[in-house]
Symmetry: D2
Subunit: 283 residues, 4 copies
């Protein structure tokens, strides 16, 4: 039967890595999961089982560990670029490469009021992310930073009202509701920042402070405000993509028990959830 | 600060639904999870908190249950189209809509050699999927069917050798290896099939039989063969996208124990995993 | 401070293992996860960091793979006993050992109407389980077989009514409800069965058929009927412990939409869930 | 067939609850998941489908929300006792009850250097736990506090050596290894503390500080030290049960790449894992 291969890509996912930098005094800890994707001149393997040009995904995995050893870096953003550049420079059959990293946060344990030199406790559930994409024709070079699963909740300062009223609506207008979400944000860089870690800290703080202080008329409006806040705090960022699942806290109906629920007692739910997305850019 | 909203969309995810069709003799069971995404004239909510045109995601959820009651359907593919068309036809502010469904499989319990009329046991871990996307300007209308998490494994008939040899390679050539993967496939329809359920059954059988009988020189080659097999079995399918994670079974090193591992004893692993993707189309 | 160690145990969990038996014609496949727990004379390691008597959990892991290679077995029940006996016989400091195994099911792919010799597709989500516990003083020797996560659902033949009526009740009597559960069962053997695989098949069939055909007045009553059915089908079983989470399918309220829900449209939920447990023994 | 019901219990699991206490100035937030288990005179439902004495698990769920509204409490420990006492006092057919709660941590978002009055960000992945068990004959009354999934890691100060050397050992002695674990601890109270929250904070700090500063010769030894530290910090605690999975960080073998791994580059793994358990009591 006449068939053809329209597009293809392959790589290694979930390469988990711990790197300890054993400085005198303070030891540094990086824990991350790395995904590598390659595209290019690999059709022979798909069409004929000819693997001559194929870099084994096992070799990709080895490469991540070897480069983690050989290169010094102070951010996952820097490391993702090193890995991506390595693949593009080393293998002529690679047309493009994307390296994505998720970092799990560790905080130093406090002992006697001071941060410990080499003992850590897991931070919040959120992960710092980044992605470096490089292509041989330069067109596709992008650097992205981000954060995933940053869970936040506010018990006041959130309304939702005056939306479409028709046969399918049963939800009442709410002047005060619990607003909980798990922030996923990705910011595309328009310039190389001097300090990737500082940029991350400013972007994270902008997201949290805006969530806390913005009086919300809709999740959509809060998304826009968060995007603007990141752009404002980070001059090197060109645009911000946000995805905000509405993790509903549903008021429990206390009327059958002759009680009034004064916005106190809720059922936290995971599904279904509203999902609000948008990308905010500079003018 | 001058910022603007570049793109936006919103919807409801994980609307879980059980529908029982209580026919005399045999009762039918559908269990599914529905995701609805809308885009269109919704910027006022993002920019000004004006929700006048916003259909609440809670109303979307209600709509799914109401349509599940009012409409008769015999496949999730048919139902996804009904839901998508409803949103486009009902709300002029909607420019486009995408409805994705995952169906969990239930098989009738066998009692006395015969399938039971109303008792079911969960099938394999795989889920049938579909997606109907409709846009007001017709350009974007697509119908997709698919399958997720179809776990397969073969203990023979799989090689991987003669790939790139360099500093980063430690993996030896393998003339016989265990090949395990979790098939994710999506097929784009080029014509309306008479029978969505028959098409699904033929596509699933083509994937399984090809996996079993194709002598594999690489996961890439097997992917191509699977795509061709689905196209061959299903004339209404125009192209097939496949994603095949290589769920490695790593030979356990028995040499320290003075034993030889004759391709018998393996460590099944979840991570890291190779990930091979490609799209196969008709010429 | 005066403190003491009251009890202790340690072991290795989630030792995942694939064994392929390469017979001519048909290849056999076992995939399992093994947990080993030891107790005995290990207090020196807790109290003084003296590891002289400690068998490293890494060595336990090695042992599982080595024994999987060296021993022939046709069931996880047989293998769990071999592993347990090995630890008790090899190390005098071990007072007792428990080996628990979960097996993931694989079914042969059908090609041309016949089961394939070496290609498999994942079975249902359930896992077969077993546990062998041996103690040096013989008192504690037990053999247990079981099944986990066997998801079943019936759309008729289930009632729940006339339960306690008081201030906290809002649930109405139900003459017909959807009954969905995920069966966890463990059967303690009172005699060594000739055929562990046959016993498992009979127990599983007894659970499924009873679920399908028993007219249920409560989950509790169905639990009792299932336990009796396993005892009846398996003379070597002395008692059956069952745990049945009530995976509620909640009728969706269609009245706001001027529709009647004739027991057709439900919301499947994961939480909260009722949890009904009990142990059924011979008189 | 002659069968009998040996033991039985039932209840409601995963009752998720958010309570907001709207004080002027600072709003308080509790989020928890509650499990209720009852035992007593319920055999009629198992044996005859007679539900007269059965409290529906749906009513249990309602009870949790109603009591959360009606009662004031400042800790999950206090609330678990209120719920348990309610069931024992209200229903004569209840012989005993156990109420277990897991609390998810929320921390106030910092805005302008100060904690916000009503906006929160998720804390670490750990959960605070408690369990109140009450029986009509008083014998079984126990109060337990605890913590789950407190992830910690140290990059120095951990050895493991001189363990059993035999055919199954391949692990070398380690003078310096990464030690990562996810602490699960439960402390049984011997007296009613004045302040449950203070006790929890002291126990958590004792666990973290001991992990950081104790020079570890084995996970077992660290477990003992942690248990002693909790007993020392909390006079109201009578015993501490600990479960410490060894979340191995395995040194990546860099020798094939002509590099030396000076304890820098590791593969973090989830399975298999060593599991070390023990209970530490007062003399």
């Amino acid at each position: 039967m006449p068939a053809k291969l329209r597009d293809n890509a392959y790589g290694k996912s979930r390469v988990r890595l711990t790197k300890v930098v054993r400085r005198v005094g303070m030891q540094e800890l990086f824990e991350m999961s790395v995904d590598v994707v390659l595209w290019g001149d690999f059709a022979d393997s798909y069409l004929a089982g000819d693997n001559t040009k194929l870099i084994a995904t096992d070799s990709m995995k080895n490469t991540v560990y070897v480069l983690a050893k050989e290169r010094e870096f102070d951010s996952i953003d820097a490391f993702s670029f090193e890995v991506a550049a390595h693949f593009l420079e080393t293998y002529p059959q690679v047309a493009g490469v994307s390296v994505s990293i998720e970092q799990t946060g560790w905080q130093r344990i406090t002992v006697g009021g001071a941060p410990h030199t080499h003992a850590f406790v897991a931070g919040g559930g959120e992960r710092r992310t980044c992605q470096a994409t490089l292509a041989r024709d330069e067109s596709g070079a992008t650097r992205i930073g981000g954060i995933k699963d940053l869970m936040v909740l506010k018990t006041a300062g959130s309304e939702f009202s005056k939306f479409v009223e028709d046969r399918f609506r049963t939800l009442a207008d709410a002047r005060e509701r619990v607003f909980a979400t798990s922030i996923d944000a990705e910011w595309a860089l328009r310039a190389q920042p001097e300090d990737f870690n500082g940029l991350y800290d400013r972007a994270r703080a902008a997201l949290l402070e805006t969530f806390a202080t913005h009086h919300s008329l809709s999740v959509q409006q809060t998304l826009m405000a968060m995007g603007e806040a990141v752009l404002s705090a980070c001059p090197d960022v060109g645009s911000v993509g946000l995805s905000l699942p509405n993790k509903h806290r549903i008021p429990f109906d206390l009327r059958p028990f002759k009680l009034e629920n004064r916005n106190e007692i809720f059922v936290p739910t995971d599904e279904p959830y509203g999902l609000i997305t948008g990308t905010v850019t500079r003018e």
